[in-house]
């Protein structure tokens, strides 16, 4: 427990001292416009929109991880539980000023859920009333991609997807994250 609060303190500290702030509406509106435009470009094919958002997030994650490491100065996590804590309390805190709750661990410690009490990306958003978006579109799917990209850079292959979203009328917004494998340090064979 104490390590959890310590991690939370790291996140708080970074947010206060090391992070440049930007107007929340700017972020919200920019992201919302991107999603709406994707929905239009793909003609309401929400499965494809989800995929594109995830891909965009993945490319962000690959880059964002360096910023995270350079600023946070945190070391390698000893296990996946520590990683989850770091993601929720430092990562999300740094970049979105939120700390989703880590919960619903599986017994093998390889799967957990992030519960988002708040989600700045989804402020003001009401999904299109075409009768399908409520069942098909994961509005904040970019976050899954960000997580996947960032963790891949620190040798973790994960799968992340939303399982519920307040925007759809669910009670909570929940992302399920599962560790697929640790990527072994590959040493180029010709170097040996």
């Amino acid at each position: 427990m104490s390590s959890t609060t310590k991690t939370a303190r790291i996140g708080e500290e970074l947010w206060k001292t090391r992070v440049d702030k930007v107007n929340a509406e700017l972020v919200t509106l920019t992201y919302g416009t991107i999603v709406a435009q994707l929905c239009q470009d793909y003609d309401g094919d929400y499965t494809e929109v989800n995929k594109q958002l995830d891909k965009m997030g993945y490319n962000i994650g690959l880059r964002l991880i360096e910023d995270f490491l350079a600023r946070s100065n945190v070391g390698r996590c000893a296990n996946f539980r520590e990683t989850a804590d770091m993601v929720a309390k430092v990562g999300f805190k740094m970049f979105l000023n939120i700390s989703p709750t880590v919960t619903n661990w599986t017994s093998d410690n390889n799967q957990f859920s992030l519960i988002f009490e708040e989600n700045p990306l989804a402020d003001f958003v009401e999904l299109p009333d075409d009768g399908r978006s409520q069942d098909e579109l994961w509005f904040s799917n970019i976050l899954c991609g960000v997580l996947r990209g960032a963790l891949e850079m620190v040798q973790m292959q994960i799968d992340a997807h939303f399982v519920s979203d307040i925007l759809r009328g669910d009670d909570t917004t929940e992302m399920r994250v599962s560790l697929v494998r640790y990527i072994e340090d590959e040493m180029p064979p010709d170097e040996e």
């Binding site: 880059r63 360096e66 910023d67 350079a70 390698r76 850079m153 340090d185 170097e191």
Partner: protein, 196 residues
């Protein structure tokens, strides 16, 4: 004595390719581009090997008497130089006069199975010191400095931050490709100048 000279910086991507090379202060002989590429690749290989030969010592070894403890910790965790690794019985000057390299060994109880071996951290000659910083993503920053320069870790950290800001966040920078970001050059140059 002029002790904060930073001669040059090399960035090696995680596959061992040279992606950035820049000279800040003359004093070292210039190499041809090809030689820099060879240097990067060779260092990458040596770094990987030094990491793989890092011995897995039992935890108790860190709790032995101070003289042997400091030495064994140096040899195991921060492989300070090839010589100290290959001939552990001969203490190198590097190991004794550089306290910063030893600090990590006191914070970890190595070998902690979750903390991977770090590999080569610096090389030293009479005229310059080569410090290597590997990020958790596998990118390596190599800094050539004056051997007496202090606080290299501060410089390294700042360089990493600038890299994160101006290279990684540049949407037109392609990952793992050579860094050609004018704003990175500019900020790096002016920050280092400001330090001197």
């Amino acid at each position: 004595m002029y002790v904060s000279t930073v001669y040059s910086l090399i960035i090696i991507n995680k596959a061992g390719g040279l992606v950035y090379q820049r000279e800040f202060h003359s004093g070292l002989h210039k190499l041809s581009t090809n030689d820099y590429l060879v240097l990067a690749g060779t260092f990458h290989g040596v770094h990987a090997i030094t990491r793989s030969i890092t011995p897995r010592l039992p935890l108790a070894s860190t709790a032995t008497n101070p003289t042997t403890a400091s030495h064994s910790a140096t040899a195991s965790l921060s492989v300070t130089s090839p010589s100290s690794t290959t001939t552990p019985t001969t203490p190198t000057p590097t190991a004794s006069n550089n306290p910063t390299a030893n600090t990590p060994s006191s914070t970890y109880s190595f070998p902690n199975p979750s903390v991977p071996a770090s590999g080569l951290e610096f090389l030293e000659t009479d005229k310059f010191r080569l410090t290597c910083f590997q990020t958790q993503t596998g990118t390596k920053f190599l800094l050539f400095t004056d051997p007496f320069m202090a606080n290299i870790d501060v410089v390294m950290k700042k360089i990493y931050e600038l890299y994160a800001d101006f290279v990684m966040k540049n949407p037109f920078y392609q990952l793992e490709m050579p860094v050609r970001c004018e704003s990175f050059d500019r900020h790096l140059g002016s920050w280092l100048r400001g330090r001197i």
